[in-house]
Amino acid sequence: MSLLEVENLSAYYITHAYGVQRDVRAVDNITFSMEENEIVGLAGESGCGKSTLIKVLLAIIKPPLRVLSGQVNYSYDGKKFNLLTLEREQLRKVQWEDISYIPQGSMSTLNPVRKIRKTFEDVIKAHKKSESREEYERLMEEHIKYLGLPLEVLDSYPHQLSGGMRQRTTIALATILKPKIIFADEPTTALDVVVQRGVIQMLKQLHEEQKNTMLIVTHDMAVHANVAEKIAIMYAGKIVEIAEKKELFTAPKHPYSQFLIQSLPRIGDKRRRTSAPGNPPSLADPPPGCRFHPRCPYVKDVCKRHIPKLIEYEESHNIACFLYSSEIEEGEEIVQEIIRS
């Protein structure tokens, strides 16, 4: 079994206004898996559902977000469970310690009115009750030093640090308990290139040391080129392609991935780049059939009526597109069982 297996996962934002229900289909029948010790990059336009997918994989599910179907199965160190069915207490135990999160916008995990040392202590205490105070201190300082951060950050308040330093502190905090798997949501977005490189350097160093599995979300393909081993492309709530990094950059298959790769600017090359025509669909009212069909230059009749299934086209290269297979996705008619409410 893989470390993480996601099956037919659907999670919508369900809101009611003036008696009308509105469903935002942010995660729309997604199936994929991640292996131990692998770094996967998740890419896709803003608003396509990347952050929502990560939240569901971490079981951070607050209304109006609701999981309508599917399983999020983890398997490691002899443990096996569907994260979505865990009790509160069990969930609290695995979150952070085994399954950790670097949220988008580094301010959200650092408490603005607490010194950073206190925030670290809170996290360690919550998970490692048996250990002594000296032990906490040692763990904390070792980790901070190992990651190349000055020890002074521990005695600072979040606002006293620069954006880059704060982001690196958040990463240190998320990894203090040596998690099995880390989900990082846009860890480098809005940082300048030099700081961005420092953050990537740090993630790679952690991966070397802790051997954890990482899912890194960013819309910046150049960042993926430098960290990911495998890349998943998301479009309008669905994963449309997964491939080894090199394969994805040199031979993308899905028409959307092709647009994405072709449009990337490169220093030293000024040829005109064009991006996909049209606009991404609203997830509250996605087009029928393949979500990309209204913008696709190869659209066929079937694309307008059916959703293509994500199939294994070649070894470790999965594609959801009728250009490569005629398999139709099941699940449109899945009974929408409500797992959590």
């Binding site: 030099v194 080129a225 991006s275």
Partner: protein
């Protein structure tokens, strides 16, 4: 003699942090000079890490902030001396800002097109509703949108791309000669990023608009710019033709900056580690070169003496490695030619 659209002459901006008398001074912009020709529209990029003074410079050009010393003139008129309402209006008509985040530019409770009509009304460009609609429609057309697509819509009903295009369209209503775009693509994804920068190129080509493009995205900067200025802690450390600066950078900071740009190339992963700056304020207050602590080629002189800008190989560079004095010293070294 060609006429100048914009001239920035030895501009300095000092902020007092932590109280005017007891606190320290921070030179956010240090002696910056450049000009833009009015006959030759261009895309001029200001790049550099966060906190290097880019936004402060932009705000001074927009007249939102006064320089501590030096002057900024637009078509020969000193921007700081604009006082009369009509003059200010005239200036704002010609020089328009575009901001970073389209989702913050627009109030979620206000219909998007109201911003466009408001701008059309503010500058006495049109009187009747019909005239205004015509202006709005034209501006939207130049960014590839129609009034139909945005009319009556709230920001959350448009995609990020449509919103950022709308904010460019708003800036175009007054038919400006100069757009000041402060990190207009830093919050948007790759495909949208390209459509916005392509739009800037088209505006330059078709409508003779000059764009001051502030960014830390060096890949798009290379793709659209004619010239580039690299800023570091208030200094412009290298400035000139885009190909010269980006393909054969001279300043050690430009070199590191360019090496840090992640390339969308699966083979091009970075090998060596880099040194990050520790404390911003400390670097700002350095006597010598601001890059001294992080520079792999730092010399003794760099610690104490601020380098002068010199002209080398088609660009200006502010570094002792290239300054005359250093060359002279080097010439007297024993055993050298």
């Amino acid at each position: 003699m060609s006429r100048k659209l914009l001239e920035v002459k030895s501009v300095v901006k000092i902020f007092h942090i932590g109280g005017r008398f007891l606190g320290t001074k921070l030179k956010a912009v240090n002696n910056v000079s450049f000009d833009i020709d009015s006959e030759k529209p261009e895309i001029l990029t200001f790049a550099g890490e966060t906190g290097s003074g880019k936004t402060t410079l932009a705000r001074m050009i927009l007249g939102l902030e006064q320089p501590t010393s030096g002057e900024i003139t637009y078509k020969g008129k000193n921007v700081s001396h604009i006082q009369k309402r009509e003059e200010l209006l005239e200036y704002m008509k010609e020089v328009q800002p575009i901001f970073q985040n389209p989702f913050e530019t627009f109030n979620p409770l206000r219909k998007v097109d109201s911003y466009l009509f408001e701008t059309a009304g503010n500058y006495n460009l049109a009187k009747t509703k019909g005239e205004k609609a015509k202006l709005v429609e034209e501006a939207l057309k130049s960014v590839g949108l129609t009034l139909n697509e945005v009319q009556g819509r709230y920001p959350n009903e448009l995609s990020g791309g449509q919103l950022q295009r709308t904010s460019v369209a708003r800036a175009l209503i007054t038919r400006p000669s100069l757009l000041i775009a402060d990190e207009p693509v830093s919050m948007v994804d790759a495909s949208l990023r390209m459509s916005i920068v392509n739009l800037f190129s088209d505006l330059k080509e078709e409508y003779n608009v000059t764009v001051l493009y502030i960014t830390h995205d060096l890949a798009t900067a290379y793709y659209i710019s004619d010239r580039i200025a690299i800023m570091l802690r208030g200094d412009v450390v290298e400035f000139g033709n885009i190909d010269k600066v980006m393909l054969s950078p001279l300043h050690p900071y430009t070199q590191i900056l360019l090496k840090s740009v992640p390339q969308p190339d699966p083979e091009g992963t970075w090998k060596e580690d880099i040194k990050l700056s520790s404390l911003e304020v400390k670097e700002f207050s350095r006597l010598g070169c601001k890059f001294y602590e992080r520079c792999p080629s730092a010399m003794k002189i760099c610690e104490e003496v601020e380098p002068l800008s010199v002209f080398r190989d088609g660009r200006e560079v502010k570094c002792h490695l290239y300054s005359e004095e250093f060359k002279k010293e080097e010439e007297t070294l024993p055993g050298s030619f």
